[in-house]
């Protein structure tokens, strides 16, 4: 017979090697770089101890980047969850063309984030944008609004773009969860005289909770690293009003060429994401018990 242990090692080896070399090792290297002053332009490396971390702690732009990242994550993920649940409940009903509607909900997910962001930038355009035209036509405004030039409207635009792109994904996850709930529970609920809302809050929500938590985990991790949408839609502007951690890190590394300081930012981003996912996993574990 075969030595399965040997086989399983060699079967897993290439994948683990690639992951270790291209994902794990670079993270460790980032930690190392975060203690150095390293400018790509001059190509000199100098040990800086905790200097980079100190610089970032007193830097208001870092604080703002944290604030925007969390603002976008919390608001877009919570809106997506509510809309996604509504969409999932809708798609669960039986009607003609249901398969096609489900297929359509893959469209926002499949469009590249960059293309979606360009599209929203065009829709929010201050002179020839569709949104201005519609608001104007229905007489909500009499002069065009420059959506991407005001801090709060720009932030709102980012959130709208994110919500459109990712709500269908959450809906499909939740839909799969909904379909695993046995129909008999609803039948017996009906017999016991529970109305639609009671059936939803006493049967659907508790049984859907694990799936909700997992979709929240996926989406939160994804939202915390938001880059493409902001880079294309606002470039972090106006000023730095929509700049997120990933965007600030990218700019520090490849516009200012400060690899060391950028790596420190990257490490902070990494630690934040790890911390948040640890909290989620704790909640998941507790709810599983």
């Amino acid at each position: 017979m075969f030595n399965f242990r040997k086989y399983s090692f060699w079967f897993c080896f290439p994948s683990l090697l690639i992951i270790a070399g291209i994902a794990l090792y670079p993270v460790l290297h980032s930690f190392l770089l975060s203690f150095f002053k390293f400018n790509l332009h001059e190509n000199v490396i100098r040990f800086n101890g905790l200097g980079n971390y100190k610089d970032l702690l007193i830097d208001t732009r870092t604080r703002e980047a944290f604030y925007h990242t969390f603002l976008f994550t919390i608001s877009s993920v919570s809106i997506e969850l509510v809309l996604g649940l509504l969409l999932a409940l809708f798609l669960q009903r039986k009607f003609i063309g249901r398969g096609l509607t489900r297929a359509f909900s893959l469209v926002p997910w499949a469009v590249p984030t960059v293309v979606a962001a360009l599209l929203w930038r065009w829709i929010f355009n201050d002179r020839f944008g569709l949104l201005n035209e519609l608001l104007f036509r229905f007489e909500f405004i009499d002069t065009p609004v420059a959506f991407l030039s005001s801090s709060w409207l720009a932030r709102l635009s980012v959130i709208i773009a994110e919500v459109w792109k990712t709500t269908p994904f959450i809906a499909l996850l939740l839909l799969a969860g909904l379909e695993m709930i046995p129909q008999e529970l609803y039948e017996s609920g009906k017999i016991d005289g529970a109305n639609a809302w009671q059936r939803f809050s006493n049967i659907t929500l508790p049984l859907l909770k694990p799936v909700i938590l997992i979709s929240l985990l996926f989406r939160t991790m994804d939202a915390l690293r938001i880059f493409d949408t902001v880079y294309v839609l606002t470039g972090g502007g106006p000023g730095n009003a929509t700049e997120t951690l990933s965007l600030y890190t990218y700019k520090t590394m490849f516009s200012h060429l400060q690899i060391g300081l950028g790596s420190t930012l990257a490490v902070l981003t990494f630690l934040t994401v790890t911390f948040v996912s640890a909290i989620y996993l704790l909640i998941l574990k507790r709810s599983a018990n």
Partner: protein
Amino acid sequence: MKKVIFVLLLILVIFLLLWPFAWQIITSLKTPGEISSFPVTLLPKRLYFENYAKVFNSGPPFHLYIVNSCIIAGGATLLCIVFGSLCGYALARLKVRGTNYILALFLGVAMFPQVAVLSPLFLILRKIGLLNTHLGLMLVYTAFGLPLSVWLLMNFFKELPNEIEESALIDGCSPLGVLYRIVLPLAGPGIFACAILVFIFCWNEFLFALVFNTSMNMRTVTVGITLFPGLYEIPWGTIFSAATLVTLPLILLILICQRRIISGLTEGGIK
């Protein structure tokens, strides 16, 4: 009455899902004059296909970007399927020590913020001369597509009946032979779904492509789309023609194979 409300809701849902994408196609068919005019027209006055020609003759070599994206995303998908099916099969059937740790590791990598590896990968790729190459991005995408592939393929393999594999092993077929002669042909549909998902991930990726492939001829489509030069105005017509060209084939493919893709997408989250 209830039915009318339902149909109205259905139309609203479909409209919200599709209209931004439809608006992209509509804009791509307008003349530059119509695009920058007020009031905005909801449909093109006449169909104008010039924008699609401009995609290829307005400066940047967009045909090369399509070729680059095909090579990089195709290559990475192939590597993900080959290595991912080996690893997924081992995790599904052969007893691997620390299976749970390996799966947790893959899940962790799938959730990494990409910026955490950006500067070291840039330095490494620069050192070994893989910046501005197909191979460099291909390897990076393989690493970040592997967690999804392993996870999905493992689930597909687990669902296959075990008996044929076991009798093949007893007859003296090696695990590698079992994988390539028996398991892979049976798991064909699953592998296809996995390949589409990985391909879309690579095709749509932006940040790594923006940083690692900066030379004019080596860009990918996602980066290329953001870089169309405009004289005074942003050339929206050209941009959305290019966007339509690189997304429409994928969307048609997805609409055709939607069932498999939806189950592939949701499987990892539910199990």
